[in-house]
Subunit: 302 residues, 2 copies
């Protein structure tokens, strides 16, 4: 049964990749190549939820290059170079603490579908993602009906717009660790707005200490699907936010050089393909849907 | 003009990814997720053409993990796990010597479309690739006619089957360094058979010292497009070939453990997306088609 399950997960993963790739092309997005090594990458902090123990790095011909933790900074640079709507399917390496082994949703290597829209707003991302989520689930139900049946997974149809809460509302109702409890209390995906997060997520000019960002949360306890935001794009704001996060600005020198006369306003997001497949298949652990398992704290076989 | 060229290259890259992804799905291939870190990766040797100076490695929770140089070993394992036809678009990291800077075709990071067919033969790969090459070129001609016009690139229609030579014939005609000369002498892609290469390329049982492998070569001096082979799949043959190449068998322990009762016979290949885009656009250097340039010996900006 285990090897049969592996094949069913592989087929569903393939159909998810197929649908998502085609969807973004149909919507006029330009598909970029992934980047794996760069002098700059997403700091993944000061997200209080981040437990990455170090950034993967190598040395090559005298340069220190980091393994991609997410494509966010490269997305902003691509938008500045004139690509108005873009997406990438890129491996992300996040060397998580072994304590994350049991979370059910953490991997030290996974693929993220990352997209960005020049001049985009939160509402543009919501509309796009809701259409994508519904479309992907319908596609898999149609193409992999036998697999879902054997896996015992029934997926409800869900309707737009998805419910939407601020993290402040969610904290009040479910406590500081609201994600799992709120996810369990829902049967359809929902949006959570306003997270204290990385420097590139726009702080609301009208309400300092509040943020123009959002997560999409899967229902039934599966937790976070997507993180995204409208972006900080003004140089002075970016510098101020990097300072506030006590990050080493030198690590972002090349990015800051390009940002000196401003990035362009944009909004976007990124979602893990494996987490989407986990939600669709109802797998216990996100590592269960990987053909080559990458769970923090487990030995890597191949 | 440079920034305009970047956008045209990005659009053509996007259309190439779109066409290739859709093509393999239409042909019933299962799309796998890329792997970036693993205890095992392609040794890239003893290819006399390989000038990789080291394998990228990191240490994570007590394990030494290599950055993917190609997905070949994982493809064989996936076939053994029951996936009969598969493809992957995966970043490959090959830390090339800075001497490769001027070759026009080397990158230290690129994305390869890698595919494998259980029970496949050379002829299956030839038919598939010739259809893909023709289809991709026709698709780009249709979708990016303006870009090709501005870039001044005219692509001939080419017909199947492509010409086919052994490397022995090519060496005799063009000398030991036949690739560029033979490429320049052709106006359509052609196949070159029988390379002395890595342990996983099948040695011809009827003709020891000859190999059931193949390269596809672009015309007009653009050189190698694809490498592929029918594979060694019997444990004793794999062990013998690893020994002959003086590789440390310990580095392949997990692969050899899975191969102990035999891999399955298969054939496949892999081609670099950037090299295909270079050929289609007629760019001088393969790095010119990358939005984020990764040329060995050049400083990496972002």
């Amino acid at each position: 049964m285990e090897s049969r399950k592996k094949l069913m997960h592989a087929k569903i993963t393939s159909e998810v990749l197929r649908y998502c790739t085609d969807f973004f092309h149909r919507k006029g997005f330009v598909q970029l190549m992934p980047v794996i090594l760069s002098p700059i990458t997403d700091p993944l902090g000061p997200d209080p939820g981040s437990t990455v123990i170090k950034t993967g790095e190598i040395e090559y011909l005298g340069q220190r290059l980091s393994l991609t933790q997410s494509m966010i900074l490269h997305k902003q640079i691509a938008v500045k170079q004139g690509i108005k709507k873009l997406f990438i399917i890129s491996p992300n390496v996040r060397l998580e603490s072994p304590a994350r082994k049991e979370s059910g949703k953490h991997l030290f290597e996974f693929s993220q579908l990352d997209f960005e829209i020049e001049g985009g707003k939160r509402e543009d991302v919501f509309g796009l993602m809701e259409e994508l989520m519904k479309g992907t689930v319908e596609h898999v139900k149609k193409e992999c009906a036998d697999e879902l049946h054997i896996l015992g997974r029934t997926l409800p149809a869900f309707s737009s717009p998805f419910s939407c809460y601020t993290t402040h509302e969610l904290e009040e109702k479910y406590g500081a660790d609201w994600e799992t409890a709120a996810s369990l209390a829902h049967s359809a995906p929902f949006w959570a707005l306003c997270h204290r997060r990385e420097f590139y997520d726009k702080e609301d000019p009208a309400e300092p200490g509040h943020y123009r960002n959002y997560d999409l949360i899967y229902p039934e306890g599966f937790g976070e699907a997507l993180s995204g935001a409208e972006r900080e794009y003004e140089y002075e704001r970016i510098i101020a936010r990097i300072g506030k996060d006590r990050l080493d600005a030198g690590r972002y020198a090349a990015y800051l050089e390009l940002a000196r006369d401003g990035m362009l306003p944009s909004a976007g997001g990124g979602f893990g393909i494996e987490r989407l497949v986990r939600y669709i298949t109802g797998a216990k652990h996100v590592g269960d849907v990987q053909l080559f398992r990458r769970v923090p704290g487990e030995q890597v076989i191949v």
